[in-house]
Amino acid sequence: MVAEPAQDQSVQELEDKQEWWWVAEKKRSKRLDYLRKSVWKKGALGGNYAPGIKLDLECATLFTDMWKFWKYDPIMMRRAKAIAHVLDNKTIFITDHSQLVGYFGSLPNTIMWRVDGASMVNEEAYNEPGIMPEPENESLQKVAELNDYWAGQTAVDKVARILDPEDAVKFLSGAIGWGAPSSAYGYSGKDYEYLFAGRRGFEDIIEEINAAVENAEDKTVGVPGPEILDIYDRLQNWDAMILVLEAGIRHARRYARLARTMAENMETDEKRREELLKIAETCERVPARAPRNLQESLQYDHFIQIFARTEAHEGAWPARPDYYHGPYYDKDVNVDKTLTKEEALDLVGEFMIRAYEVGGFAPRWAREGLQGITGTWVWTLGGVNKDGSDACNDLTVAFLQAARLVRVSNPTFGFRWHPKVKDEVLRECFECIRHGLGYPSMRNDPLLIQNAMHWHGHPLEEARTWVHQACMSPCPTTKHGVQPMRMASATANCAKMVEYALHNGYDHVVGMQMGPETGDAAKFHDFEELFQAWVKQMEWLTSLLVRTVNLGRYKDPEFFGRPFLSGMSERSVESGLDVVSPVGDRGNCWVTAFTWVENIDSLAAVKKLVFDDKKYTMEQLLSALKANWDGYEEMRLDFVNNAPKWGNDDDYVDDIMLRCLRETARHSRVMKCPSGNSWPILPENVSGNIHYASIVGALPNGRRCGDALYDGGISPGPGLDKKGPSAVLKSCGKIDHVSDGRAFLLNQRLSPTQLAGEKGYQLWKAYIRTWADLGLDHVQFNMVSDETLRAAQKDPEKYSEVIVRVAGYSAHFVDISRKTQDNIIQRTVQGI
């Protein structure tokens, strides 16, 4: 429960004290206040779910029942029928005061369980204390039965069986990678250009499918030949798409019915009755047909998200709400004047809250790596239109304002900055940052458009439609540009590269020979030998992950199947192929590089102190690392303090960064995705730096096994960027943000006092202009003082609404583990 604010304080007083969470509470409408406080938080506290959160057995059971029943159907059809059964029969609800509806679980406090994804995850669901619905014994029995049924036939089981066994074991050790090689746990882009720009409802799509089916059937009853053989499969897929689209329409109409029943039989308040009838009208219209106003448009979008998540556990939420819903806002608020700005703000705020509510059961590694949230819902704002003109509109501003009122940690925003962004919009971004939300993160639009063209060959106009596919990576929302399945499992624990280079490929933490044997480091004569060993480990590690993902993607239509997402894709509607099939997908892959900068600082430290200064021998260093630096503290401090560190504008170490990136970029072009495109790296961490803290061994940058890794991307080590923010940006600016990788995350902590008032905005604006000039693609800010964070650690109840930027996402400070909290506090406060 949210603690009560000091009622006797004015908004001005609270603003002066920078207690933004109370300011928000005082400023937002009664409706938003109710909705915001009533929502169940699905993100885990550190590692565990909050009390009251329950596993959704209803949906899992409904799904499994129908899946069992249709066991002879082809996979797309079988899944479509199971999904339709869930949508037709699960419990639905409408929360008091709400105007938007739809949740993917059956009750507000349940977390959806993707029962057909991975039996490992299913076993974790069984083992998770506290989340079993009462009576617990019955639930456990039920879960055990479901697990028994699904064991061996989930999507990940199927992929794991056919992987090379060595790859499978090493990947599943958890030491080098993250995520699961299946779209059951993917991040799916959505073809928004087809849906929203194309103004299509589900009925329009069904019509297009029917036309395609007719056309195909002409061939299957025509001249025999090899070219018609795969049409039979496509026809099945088309049928599956229609089936699930129709179920979606029916599902929405269940809400319409419920709203009408409430309005006619239960509701006594006239105003609320009207709202309920509006909900009914909205759900009768969408998703069947294209939206006509803002509420319908937002509701349509939300239904699409819910249905996609009923089909798969989607870990991200790529969206560009201001761009696609903006025309409706403009029509309702500015032209027809059917909505006041305040009413629109209520809708926009609730739209964010409805997304915040969404959360599925996630295994512990995912909860630890994404502490406090349920997935990376990074929504994209700003940017340019297809013709390059400024795309910001009134809804951009409304979203930024609503964010400060609802203060959710999920979704967050990434703002596509470009030189034509108007000052008034930039000020709204700054206000969000100044209010300590940690978002929007600032993205350099012109640069990222160029980057998308460079790596994946997206044409200019398509590249300009980009949205954040997860935290960081841009992806177009077009027919051939949208990526239906990005798998987190191409996420590399990069610190292992230098660790293995020093230990001949052996992992002392896991106790296995993991990487290739690149030689006994004690016998290396110069830095080059070590560096070449690093290159081999880097190639091995990224290749292994990419092999796994490529296979997962290639086999996904056979092992999983996505009828709903296919129905959302122009490519699939046209071709009848499962959308995950690589055919016709231009490719938009990237290797997420967790714990990347440790490589740079470690290599630099060895180069300096062992090979250049000859202060220590390799044997000495290896002994110290083997002892986890125990008994070598003086030497350890030498490696921390007297070796150059990334982020201080020092070419000695910055050049090593560039070498590492360029070797990796070279290898990125060698590795190919199923569509034949490259695999650039993207350094960022979420909270994997904490998850991996005990999995990465001691390193020459001076860390021990157990220490939090750096907070990620290309951010310098906490407290090691001693020359201030300009030096950090200068170092980062040496990286070619177009050709060295896909995107580069940078965290900055700024001092709240410096950024107060107009001069604070001017300072920030000059900072951002310089950031852009230096050619960086990303920066995000924490702007909460140490004092506040310390106070929140001591008194979490009182500070339950303090939000911090973790890495790539924001979280409520009290929801993240103590180690992560400390890690955030230790990030250098810049700009004092």
Partner: protein, 122 residues
């Protein structure tokens, strides 16, 4: 043994047995000398459902048979479950369990599968 068959053996230990149907009893039962209570147990960083590695024994070992088979050399560790019975293993080395509430984030040397551990320490 070919590379493939050697790793296949490890993979089976990780995937095969664990994925096979088990009853509530099999899941809940924690032997007195469960591998999960041993200092040599390292929980898999990828799955927190009780599967993990033995840091002493390598693949090919079998502690279920009498006398147990101990393989100390090799590329890959023996995979065991938290509630595998370690009674017959001469390397069993009980450790005090701390952080039993699961709130703290991953520390594979100390973290143990939650439900069974909570039951066992009560």
């Amino acid at each position: 043994m070919s590379r493939r068959s050697q790793w296949k053996q490890v993979a089976n230990g990780m995937l095969g047995d664990v994925s096979k149907a088990r009853s509530v009893e099999e899941r809940e039962n924690v032997p007195e000398k469960a591998c999960g209570f041993c200092k040599n147990f390292s929980e898999n960083a990828y799955a927190s459902d009780g599967r993990g590695y033995c840091r002493k024994l390598k693949v090919g070992s079998d502690i279920k048979v009498t006398p147990p088979v101990y393989v100390m050399e090799g590329q890959a560790s023996l995979t065991v479950l938290f509630n595998s019975d370690g009674a017959g293993c001469e390397y069993f080395n009980r450790q005090d369990l701390i952080d039993t509430d699961g709130n703290e984030v991953n520390d594979p040397s100390y973290r143990r599968v939650q439900r069974q551990m909570e039951k066992a320490i009560k």
